[in-house]
Amino acid sequence: MNGSAASRGNQSKTRYGGAYQAPPFFMSRFFKIYDVGYLITISLILFISIFLLYPVIKVFAYPSWAQYVNAITRPLAVRALKNSLFITLLSTISSVFVGFLFAYAMNYTNIPGKSFFHIISILPLLSPPFVVALAWILLFGPRGLITYNLLHVRWNIFGWKGLWLVQTIAFFPYAYLVIDNVLSSIDPSLEYAAINLGGTGKRTFLTVTVPLALPGIVNAALLNAIYILADFGNPIVIAGDWPVLPTTIYGLISGHYDVFSAAALSIVLLFPSIAIYIFSQLALGSKSYVTITGKGSALPRKSASHTMHFVLFVFCSFITLIIIAVYGILLVGAFTETWGIKWTLTLRHWSALTGTALQSLVNSLVCAIIAGLAAAFIGLMGAQFIHKRAKRIMRLWDFTFVLPAAIPGIFLGIGYLLAFNAPPIMLTGTLLILILALLVWNIPIAYQTCVAAIKQIGDEIPSAAITLGASPVRAFLSTVAPLLRGPFAYSFVMGFLRAVTNLSIVIFLIGPGRNVATVHIMNLIQYAEIPRATVLTVALFGIAIIVAILAQALLGIPLFGRGRRKESV
């Protein structure tokens, strides 16, 4: 008794003059509940747990061990896995090669038409994944313009060679943008220094430019590998009976209703994707040699040789020509009476743009706009309230915000199919499930964009607001939030485009009367309704471009110009 009285006396003494003591833990918790930032953090964690982690766990928990072993030892599955890895390797190398040459031409030459090449090269980013494949069929298919009408051969491009060509064209723009960013950040004075020390043009290229750009090139390759591994739209249209994992998984569900095997195989698809992603983060996170100082170098970049100019000009023209052919042929196809037989112009096919087709187009737009906005908003909130607190256990949540970038669309689609088709959360057949899936899938790009922007704004600006008397949340809303307008718009447009063109997730989640355009188009292609598919594709593509241009005009921020990164906060 005596002892406790003494210690109490001590405590009351310290309270009014001695050492400062933190309030008891329940007090601090109590106050934290009324802290808005704390509430937002908890909400974000709840959201990501329910709508990302829960579906992912559901897929893992669904097949039993026996079903798992059975599914992956099946000859078809083994073949699909081998094919997937093979085509991923092939298409990644070719797309990065094309992307590098394009980026090199943009940065190291002054060939005519550079901005034209740039605009054309990013068209594939704005269109559904199977557009290139569809155009390829119109050109080289059984009734293709070139194969049937011009060459009169019975050869067609279905199979892995066609897929390789199509994926190269469809995915090189991703590599181009990443490598372009890296090359343009290389300080020209380094190359001048090499030449000044006696290096020749070729030697400088090999010993300075390439090593400096290498982290960017490797990063582009890893990102492209993830995209190509998960690519569903191109192989379903053009690979024919050459199976890859995503198409095999889809076949198991749509043909055999074998959800167990599909889930098992999608886990097989997930692992290489996650492995590549983690490798890219670990290996390259700290290895960027390019320093971004914000100060542009005054020196003009050293140009490549005349021969290189010529070679690169021919190369860029050739690639650009292919892309123009792809979109041109679609446009022509949408107005042609009967492809390959009767070449008169008609508006007949546009009558297809009614009823269910029109409804699917509207659904696509509604879902993509909501998902894009919500993903940008959640990415922004995550950047402020998750990334900034990412210490110890919070690092795990930080990782979950970038995790969807490594999840193949097919996997996420199956996850949502399994997680939300029964209570407690019953969403199957609603537009909401489409929106949520597309939203979660697009969080990483918004999250990373906003994290980078918030880093650039720095801590001092909101801290200055706080010392002037603003609460932390008010400081964020009045100083940081307005400065994030550009990154927010970029996140929205990217999220919208990815959502409106997505096929691999939504294909599992559409319900009666809740179809979306991409799935509708795919069905039309499978029923060989090529003209109607073309019409719907052109309409979808047109709307995507209009929304992107509108967003750009409304916000006054160039999203796809080559000068975007130079904009400073």
């Binding site: 720095g458 200055a464 008397g469 603003a470 009045s478």
Partner: protein
């Protein structure tokens, strides 16, 4: 318990892992004074400032403002404005909106905001720039907007974190005079962080010189310069020659020590040092306190004989390096530049130093 000053830090300690950034730091600041935290980078001065502002929680120790414990107050309730090194102006707001920010947060009526912003803009000389954005201003103007924004809310304490480091040399002197003028006119309490000793000497009422998380000396600029308490202080502020010898005779205030055959008399300012006969002592001598003779002087106390090994012309003064036997480092002597240049190289010379300018800084 003693009477509390306006702002008091008591036994503040902050660790980052194994590194002790601030160690048992105590400091009292009177209302209306400008106190500088001065020290080399990594000495804990910015951490101390952030602890004051509330951005960093100390592991131990208390902060009192006006007799009130404020440890638990979040930064936005402390009433201490912080001016950042980068100014941290809001790039999306005009000069007017930047300055009015803190007043709007306080929900003052529109006309009062207008009046106070105008008054402060006039005071710092920003009239006519209300509608400009920060990127349209020069560095000096940006600095003044940051100051005005912090001052207009009439903070209990104004915290300045290396506010002049982004300005060029001439502007730096103009702005620091300006800060001093404003501080006196408005009777503001300022805690000022800098690593530039000249800036600290010129602007402060008091300087707290910090080293490795401790305050090594607290006093007026004059105290720190003329009566440095340790070798570190004497070296960091102004720079000094250090000379070590053996004590031959010592009183409370004075110390006689020998270097080779020479005898020097020095002053003891740090009461903690009580050298005894036979101890080794280190004394600090400012370069400008040494008189250089080219012929042997009449006096025979505090004279060192040496040889000139190098000279450098610095404009108003000429710096001379003198090698003195038994001393490792050559002596640095600053002499007024004279118009008749003579070649001093390799000449014999004699240095005389007044005993009050020989400060005992270390006793071992």
């Amino acid at each position: 318990m003693s009477v509390m000053e306006y702002l008091e830090l008591r036994h503040i300690t902050k660790r980052y892992g194994k590194v002790v950034a601030v160690n048992e730091l105590s400091l009292s600041i009177k209302q209306g004074t400008l106190v500088t935290l001065l020290g080399p980078s990594g000495c804990g001065k910015t951490t101390t400032l952030h602890i004051l502002a509330g951005f960093t929680q100390p592991d131990k120790g208390e902060i009192y403002l006006n007799g009130r414990l404020i440890n638990h107050l979040p930064p936005h309730r402390r009433g201490m404005s912080l001016v950042f090194q980068s100014y941290a102006l809001f790039p999306h707001m005009t000069v007017y909106d930047n300055i009015a920010y803190g007043l709007k947060i306080r929900r003052l009526p529109q006309n009062e905001i207008w009046a106070r912003v105008n008054k402060i803009m006039h005071l710092v000389g920003l009239q006519g720039l209300e509608k400009r954005y920060p990127h349209q201003l020069s560095g000096g103007q940006q600095q003044r907007v940051a100051l005005a924004r912090a001052l207009v809310v009439e903070p209990y304490v104004l915290l300045l974190d290396e506010p002049l480091s982004n300005l060029d040399a001439k502007l730096r002197i103009a702005v620091r005079t300006e800060i001093r003028r404003l501080q006196r006119a408005m009777n503001i309490t300022i805690v000022y962080v800098t690593h530039d000793q000249e800036e600290a000497l010129s602007i402060s009422d008091f300087i707290a010189l910090m080293h490795q998380g401790h305050i090594v000396q607290f006093g007026t600029p004059h105290d720190l310069y003329c009566a440095p308490a340790s070798q570190f202080v004497a070296d960091f502020i102004g720079g000094s020659n250090f000379i070590s010898g053996l004590v031959t005779r010592c009183t409370e205030k004075e110390c006689e020590f020998s270097i080779g055959k020479q005898i020097l008399i020095g002053r003891i300012v740090n009461a903690n040092l009580c050298p005894k006969t036979g101890d080794k002592v280190v004394a600090a001598i400012r370069p400008e306190h040494i008189i250089l003779h080219l012929e042997p002087p009449q006096k025979d106390i505090n004279i060192l004989e040496g040889e000139i090994i190098d000279t450098a012309f610095l404009g108003a003064k000429t710096r001379v390096w003198v090698r003195v036997p038994d001393q490792e480092a050559p002596f640095i002597v600053d002499i007024p530049t004279v118009s008749t240049v003579s070649d001093l190289q390799n000449k014999r010379c004699w240095l005389s130093i007044h005993p009050s300018n020989v400060i005992i800084v270390e006793a071992l």
